[in-house]
Symmetry: C2
Subunit: 381 residues, 2 copies
């Protein structure tokens, strides 16, 4: 079937000529062959400057597969180019010229209308021991009472849970016609015990359960047109502002969960760190955002700003000189929200899926027949 | 697992109160129950005006499933609302208010940048007997020599194929930074034989083969991040301008293929139809576009226009008074190109997938164990 896909795309005359010409140029000795170790340069010459790392690796792999004694014929080169052109839209020098306005640029607007109609989904999780200001920060980020604590009556009296619980609350917020379903998942009880051994396990289980649900729906014979996405797109991990760098639990959590979810570490209540402590902390570890959250507003120079007023002064939340709240907010919402969703889908979920299916296959392949013993998965293939 | 998804989303206090209030209003007799046949109205009241046909059907199905003697309790109502809210982003009256600018509207721009970087794909097929101007029309649509015939040397001498062949050619065209990989698939030999019995079969096979390739890649354990899309997004079907409505072959083709691909019927060389013939044709059948294609340009009132000059005058291709070319072009490229891709994915491909998997399952389910006998599909699950 792979061959089928390649066969069907053949080159228009002008492309074939351009390719043949490039090949002849590269074949400096006129042997009708080029050395396979030079193939990347030949391909790059055809495509112009565009060739990503992955594309390059694929070209090399194909060339190695096709080469005879390290040499590639013009037919081999055509095969490599056909494969490459199917997988990229960076055709560089091989573009077909058009003789006037066609209207392809309207595709941007067509896409924009479509996603606007459908709305967006973002699932964020907050993890960290109690008292670090998780609820306040999440409310400050979205300028609304979106945190779990702000939304539940029964938990107004905060009692420390005996184990780590995972609970979610969903909201729809709208701005200039753009609708976002925001789900905030909290993990009360995390890190609050005398023995915090494996307190990250319920968090990991929850994250994997969402992947499992998605996979199960994706594989079911009668699947939904739009699969509800409950996968966690971002996990805000709260580090205590002790001035002593990461605790063993911090390290354990990030080590365990980094492979399956986007973790954004934040130093909570960063106003309690001295300048030296903060610099010291950030030099030693990877870059955590040192942030302060607040839903109290105060007047400053005629404007009203969110801040924390202490005995000695006012920390302004959105003042970049005071803390990195606005950097965090910009990254999470204004520049990288869609990236976080995309990486969750294309990296973390795909990794989960690959491992899950590979292990399922390994377990169930008997004498060349695939036998699915897993009665839990009747809805899947 | 279904229950798991529902459990995890619970209502913020203000939502729960709003829902309870709406329920109490609907429970006019104060029995603590509402009649299940009224549930759609109650749900609609909560959501505002938004409730699509599908959403409505789902609400009714859930209500029927939960109702006891035609009555629903407030808990049943909460369950229905939880399910409904997970599947829609039209939360109408249940929106969470935000206290200032957060930046969610930037999501449109984030998406736009992302798709622009990735580029677009569009696969169009032309079907119809030879001499109807298929190549000319497709070249006129994209203002470039994109048709199969324009791109192949060997076929400059057009010989009529003995059977229907299916061949494709790919191009990249770019306009204002928007890149589109356009694949034009032609079907030489279609309708050109003495006996045209089943000449649509190679076309159907080709379309299904692309679905099969996609499905196989989608299901493979190590699948590509971006699956190359060779599925036909639109099939332009050329009707001869006989003035006698559809031929039996036209009817047979559309009947057979309508279920698996987006067909856009066009009356080719519509300049040969009289005004009466054209009106008559369009009254009898569903709406085919009556079009004229040309890559010849002529001066008209100081401008240069594409047209066909005949003994008696000039037919202007893009003149809406002369033919419907510009309507067809606008629909295909400027307003509905993304829709055609979307419908192919969410309707035609999903139908194919469902039938394919259901039949595979039916065939292989033995004594409750799923045994995959299909050795052709080793790469799939």
């Amino acid at each position: 079937m792979e061959a089928e896909v390649n066969n069907r795309v053949f080159f228009p005359t002008h492309l074939e000529e351009a390719l043949r010409e490039t090949f002849l140029e590269a074949d400096t000795q006129g042997r009708g062959y080029v050395e396979s170790k030079n193939i990347v340069n030949v391909v790059r010459k055809v495509l112009g400057i565009f060739l990503t790392h992955t594309e390059k690796a694929k070209v090399i792999a194909k060339a190695e597969y096709l080469a005879t004694k390290g040499l590639l014929s013009v037919e081999d080169f055509f095969t490599i180019m056909a494969d490459t052109l199917v997988e990229t839209t960076h055709w560089g020098n091989l573009k077909t010229e058009i003789a006037g306005y066609v209207g392809i640029d309207t595709l941007q607007e067509q896409i924009r209308k479509k996603v606007l109609k459908r709305g967006f989904e973002f699932n964020i999780m907050v993890v960290g021991r109690s008292g670090l200001g998780k609820s306040t920060l999440i409310n400050t980020l979205f300028k609304a009472n979106v945190s779990l604590r702000s939304c539940s009556k029964s938990e107004e009296k905060v009692e420390i849970a005996k184990t780590t619980h995972v609970k979610s609350v969903s909201h729809v917020i709208e701005e200039k016609g753009v609708r976002l379903r925001l789900t905030v998942t909290d993990t009360p009880g995390f890190g609050d015990q005398i023995n915090n051994d494996k307190c990250w396990l319920p968090v990991l289980d929850y994250i994997n359960e969402q992947y499992e649900n998605y996979l199960s729906e994706e594989q079911s014979v009668s699947r939904k047109k739009h699969i509800p996405d409950t996968r966690i797109h971002c996990c805000l991990y709260f580090i205590a502002p002790t001035g002593h760098s990461l605790s063993p639990l911090d390290i354990e959590f990030m080590r365990r969960l980094d492979r399956c979810v986007n973790i954004v570490p934040v130093i909570a209540k960063a106003d309690t760190l001295t300048v030296e402590e903060r610099t010291d902390f950030k030099q030693r570890e990877m870059l955590p955002f040192a942030v302060v959250g607040s839903n109290q507003q105060y007047p400053v120079n005629g404007r009203t700003v969110y801040g924390r007023r202490t005995q000695w002064g006012l920390v302004e939340v959105e003042n970049k000189g005071h803390c990195e709240f606005s950097d965090l907010r910009d990254m999470l919402i204004r520049t990288h929200m869609q990236d976080l969703v995309e990486v969750t889908r294309s990296v973390h979920y795909e990794n989960f899926r690959h491992e899950r299916l590979a292990s399922r296959r390994g377990r169930t392949q008997i004498n060349g027949q695939v036998i699915d013993m897993d009665s839990m998965n009747e809805s899947s293939l």
